[in-house]
Amino acid sequence: MRLGRTARIALRTAAGLGFAVIYLPLVLVLLNSLNPDRSAGWPPPGLTGRWWSVAAHNPGVRQALWVSVKAGLGATAIALVLGTLLAFAVARYRFFGRDTVSFLVVLPIALPGIVTGIALNSAFGTVLEPLGVGLGLFTVIVGHATFCVVVVFNNVVARLRRTAGSYEEAAQDLGASGWRAFVDVTFPLVRSALLAGALLAFALSFDEIVVTTFTAGPGVQTLPLWIFDNMARPRQAPVVNVVAAVLVLLSVIPVYLAQRLSADTATSSRV
């Protein structure tokens, strides 16, 4: 389309404004963590790093951070195994219902979190409680893993579709065993996709709040749960601001790394 000069300028301005709107709130959160004032008034009267050290010594925050990291690592580990297995099956084999698998995998993330949350909550209640296992970190990990599978799956499947199975066949023709071909040929090909998927799964788990609300036991509090609990308490506002800033940084960094690792990463992995 031959756009006129005015149209180009208008589009550039609109896009610039769009990006400004997308990033402004995130920058505001980072700035606000340096706000010496307890209220969120704008502009802040100055800048201080005091709240960062206050937050760093807050026992509730430290505990919640630790819980979030453990939940994220556990969920990522499970999602890596399940997502990779599924991706290999879908990309390398034909079987009945293959198209349904990609639909099934997206469901946990596409359906409202509250529905997934209460479904898992009542299932855990009926199945695990008679066994003497209550809600806790374990159930959070199981819940998170369920919706993290899609991220790993999408990353690995995209990579496998771009690298034909003929490489492995060539390796086997040259005398490598199936295992040898996997270790020397297939695994190096998908390694960066696996790492990207893992980073994104961790980021997803680290942020999640709705399913977490319903799968965490009374004593288990992840960082998002801690924020949500303390958001309405004016006294905690500065610490909440710092934790929010940490969450922005901690979720943006893995995504940045994932994008550098794998070109087909985040484009399709969350949708």
Partner: protein
């Protein structure tokens, strides 16, 4: 040497798998499919069955007797109807706003920006998609607070920010899901063959006509795909409303408020967004729009 340890059982397994190739996908699929169907779909199924149970109003215990009372209440109670309609209206408003805001951005990143800068711009759209949902909502709570950024920016015009309430909820949800709309639009616009646009111009169409008759029909499936996210994510939300919505109630809040005392009713209420979303997904999948993502 590193494969030495795993060689023997590995070899034996490989030999078995070579003799029986059909066993391979079965081996790969068993664990993930068990997880997703038994654990996930199983839990969902039990939840929806429980929508047909009731709760004893004295003891708050679930009574496992088959009844459609909950769905009857859902359809006849004015409050429920009102909240359902409001939620659908919010989800539609968010979707429309997302399309309107996303289109110029996507058009710029896909067709106007210098090709060298495009990957960077795509990354710039993607990154905030992964930034914490809760923190993004919190950011809007800060912006819309009294004396916050919105008030400060509008003060020179003699205006005030919208404060917390329904408009704030729509605004925040639009912000949250906007990248989900920009991305598919960007992809569709990028794949639009330049020849088509030139042909349209050669045949005498002005840009507005080309846009209406060529660009729009080709991009519409992708907008539909993006709308799956903007619509369904808005429909099920209850956290955003709690944080910036003031006293506004959406379907998610209604579900949430029933969980402790009347789980069957909560389950029945929860079927509404799920039914709408599953229908939407299936319809979209049929048009093939999901393959465009």
């Amino acid at each position: 040497m590193r494969t030495e340890a795993g060689r023997d059982p590995g070899r034996r397994l490989a030999a078995i798998l070579r003799r029986r190739p059909r066993l391979r996908p079965v081996l790969l699929l068993t664990a993930p499919l068990l997880w997703l169907t038994v654990l996930y779909l199983g839990s969902l199924a039990v939840l929806f069955v429980s929508a047909f149970w009731t709760t004893d109003s004295f003891t708050s215990q679930v009574v496992k007797v088959w009844t459609t009372d909950n769905f009857h209440a859902l359809l006849t109670t004015p409050v429920y109807r009102q909240v359902v309609l409001r939620s659908v209206a919010v989800a539609l408003a968010v979707t429309v706003l997302c399309v309107l805001l996303a289109f110029p951005v996507a058009f710029y990143t896909a067709r106007v920006a210098p090709p060298r800068r495009r990957p960077l711009l795509v990354a710039a759209i993607l990154t905030p998609l992964w930034a914490s949902y809760l923190v993004k909502v919190y950011a809007w709570r800060l912006i819309l607070s009294e004396g916050g950024l919105a008030d400060w920016m509008l003060a020179p015009f003699g205006l005030r920010g919208p404060g917390y309430g329904l408009p704030a909820t729509v605004l925040t949800l639009t912000y949250l899901w906007l990248p989900y709309m920009i991305l598919p639009l960007h992809t569709a616009l990028e794949q639009l063959p330049a020849g088509l646009l030139d042909a349209s111009a050669d045949l005498g169409a002005r840009p507005a006509r080309t846009f209406r008759s060529v660009v729009l029909p080709l991009v519409l499936p992708s907008a539909a795909a993006g709308s799956v996210f903007t619509f369904s994510l808005s429909l099920g939300d209850y956290i955003t409303v709690q944080i910036v919505g003031g006293k506004t109630q959406l379907i998610g809040n209604l579900v949430y408020s029933h969980i402790d005392l009347d789980l069957p009713m909560a389950a029945a209420l929860g079927t509404v967004p799920v039914a709408v979303i599953v229908l939407y997904l299936l319809a979209i999948r049929r048009t093939g729009a999901l393959d465009n993502l």
